[in-house]
């Protein structure tokens, strides 16, 4: 039943496409092009003196130890967030997929955090883990654990990872649950009849069948950790202590908005853009080849 709509003439289809194209052009292509152009310039904040410097900004950025530090932070941060969010979500989805009482209630409660704005979730975590006003933070200090994420870089990283992963668990949970429900019961029953125990059934049947979902979620989680965690970091640590939780996207913001160093900030965002394009290409290629839902 493949029915194609054939337009007579070209005016109408062009007209119908126009709004979408205009939006893409104005809100995506044009700003991105401006960023690329800006990344080739050295300019004062007010745009009164401009010098074309070619790729010098990129050379400076890549040679800057602070940027390399931020790249290393991002690698640690993004992989930790993705692992934690995926692992916890998979565990919860498997539990929620069992026939238990109050199934709907659990599912709703697990999906809920996704609706919380990043900055708000950060404030919630702050009220839990702040060394002076946080419930858990105070309890830890009272118990003799030297908890102060404002001075301990490792603890600060741990906190932003947990806060960021917590938000993403819900999203992953929904996809894992849908993935689990689409696994044919007959396959699982056949495995059970052959004498496979639950754990073995999970690793040899369920997990491989979930792999397309897992891979898709891995990419989505990495992109989330790269680009959508600004609010959490900004509200919790502002990249500190020192530069312990400064990720690449946070550094783009600090250099562009706080420090008004537009050339460097633009160069950094162009590098990030290249990275996302690469990630997307990999994702599509891989999914095209391997996935059969």
């Amino acid at each position: 039943m493949d029915r194609k709509v054939i337009f007579k003439g070209r005016a109408l289809p062009a007209l119908l496409l126009l709004p979408q194209l205009a939006v893409t052009l104005v809100f995506f292509i044009w700003p991105a092009a401006m960023a690329v152009w800006q990344s080739l310039l050295q300019q004062d904040a007010f745009g009164l003196s401009t010098e074309f410097v070619g790729l010098e900004n990129f050379a400076d950025v890549v040679a800057d130890p602070a940027w390399r530090g931020a790249a290393a932070n991002t690698a640690v941060f993004a992989s930790s967030v993705a692992m934690l969010a995926l692992g916890v979500a998979l565990f919860l989805a498997v539990q929620a997929d069992k026939a238990i009482r109050g199934q709907r209630f659990y599912r709703t409660m697990l999906i809920w955090p996704y609706a919380v704005a990043p900055a708000i979730s950060a404030v919630l975590w702050l009220f839990l883990f702040h060394p002076n006003i946080g419930l858990i933070g105070r309890a830890l200090n009272a118990a003799g654990v030297m908890w102060d994420y404002q001075l301990n870089g490792g603890q600060a990283m741990l906190l932003v990872v947990i806060a960021s992963a917590w938000k993403q668990v819900s999203y992953n949970f929904i996809f894992f649950l849908a993935g689990l429900q689409s696994i044919p019961k007959s396959v699982l029953e056949a495995a059970a009849i052959d004498g496979a125990r639950p754990l073995r059934r999970f690793w040899t049947v369920v997990f491989p069948l979930l792999s397309p979902t897992t891979f898709f979620l891995l990419v989505v989680n990495l992109v989330y950790a790269f680009f959508d965690t600004f609010g959490v970091i900004h509200a919790l640590t502002k990249g500190g202590p020192g530069k312990a939780t400064e990720t690449l996207i946070y550094k783009v913001y600090v250099d562009g908005v706080d420090n008004l160093n537009l050339g460097s900030s633009a160069a950094q965002s162009v590098l990030l853009m290249v990275f996302v394009i690469a990630l997307t290409v990999v994702q599509f290629r891989f999914i095209e080849r391997r996935v059969h839902y």
Partner: protein, 460 residues
Amino acid sequence: MLRRTLAAAALAVLAFTAPAVAQAPAAAPGGAPVEIQFWHGLPQPLGGLLEKIVSDFNASQPRYRVVPTFRGSYPETMVGAVAAFRSSSAPHIVQMYEVGTGTMLAAGRAIRPVHELLTATGVNIDFADYLPPVRGYYQSADGRQMSMPFNSSTAVMFYNKDMFQRAGLDPNAPPKTWQEVEAAARKLKEAGIACPMTTSWPAWIQVEQTLAIHNQPLATQANGFRGLNAEMRLSGALMVRHMQNLVEWQRQGLFRYGGRDAAADGLFPSGECAMAFASSGLRARILREGKFQWGTAMLPYYGDVAGAPRNSIIGGASFWVMNKGPNAGATGGRSDAEWRGVAEFFRYVSSAEVDAKWHQDTGYVPVRRASYEVTRRAGYYAANPGADVAIEELLRGGAATDNSRGIRLGGYVEIRTIIQEEMEKAFQAGQSAQQAMQAADTRANAVLRNFERQNARAAQ
């Protein structure tokens, strides 16, 4: 009954609108009043108090109408103004925090210096009456007023008198020198107080203020007042010594690092820390939240440093006059009436009565001697002991020197962050005080050179 109420309501509405209608022609002899756009970065309740001043000005005369707009935090306001200038829609007046001063001054065609505006419009403001550290911060190296000083604060020490009593210290004799502060902190710790001292604004208070009070340079070229080619001097002997002390005190539990910028503000009003170095503006919050006896004292100094103590430096913000855009030409893209309106607004803001009321309502320091006098004569300081400590501290040691006038470095927002980052690394014991200050010097110099390169031609 209902009808009577409605009729009364209608009458009341008429009563309110009628004078307005009657006034309208008188309010604008030459047509509608000239609109002046004014962007500020003060959240509530301060923003509301500022907007009250603006509406009082609008009510005081018919020709100009200043339109205030809240543009978010200071950095957000700054970015907004920069972007607006680039698209030729800059506001007439923008409030800019003190660390943005170097960036604004280097902006060349983007701003109109206040002294130029006043000469052109023939409006007179008596800057000689302004407190030297206040006006000096916003002047060129040769003493011309570049921006309009407004909300200014400085850093002071707040101390918990109840805790002092518990530790056997005299609650009416706060420590004056750092040596006395250390001794007091030890006694407080012995008395079982978990946090003897803390600091807000680590870079502003423990670095900038400390250097100014001891008449030591933060950077060459008079802290940048004399040119863009200034170099940082953070790793001088005094700064390293002070940093070393802070790290040592933190290790011994005498000092608690409470985070960057204003993050540690809550530790004193909550009754957790016995001594806190904070903005004088914290006073209002302590009054509201502090459930204990407390006092205010000047920032401590090292008694063995010759020439100390001098005046502290200010924080806060000033008003900058902006041209409309990069291609606005000699008129700045504004009519004479608009320039005149800006100048008249500044004259209104500078009046001793307005300034004194602002000082008493907000806890910012009065920027003029005259408003200090007005407030004193009104009996405000007798009723609010300690409210004058900040002003006395700003006037300490006579005229400001090259080292205590303020800081005029481009990209200083970034440099402050760098200082705080390196301090944090020292507190984490990742590096010594000496290494921290040297690293801060190196990184901050890179920012200065970058800024110099970007602005060298714009300034000419």
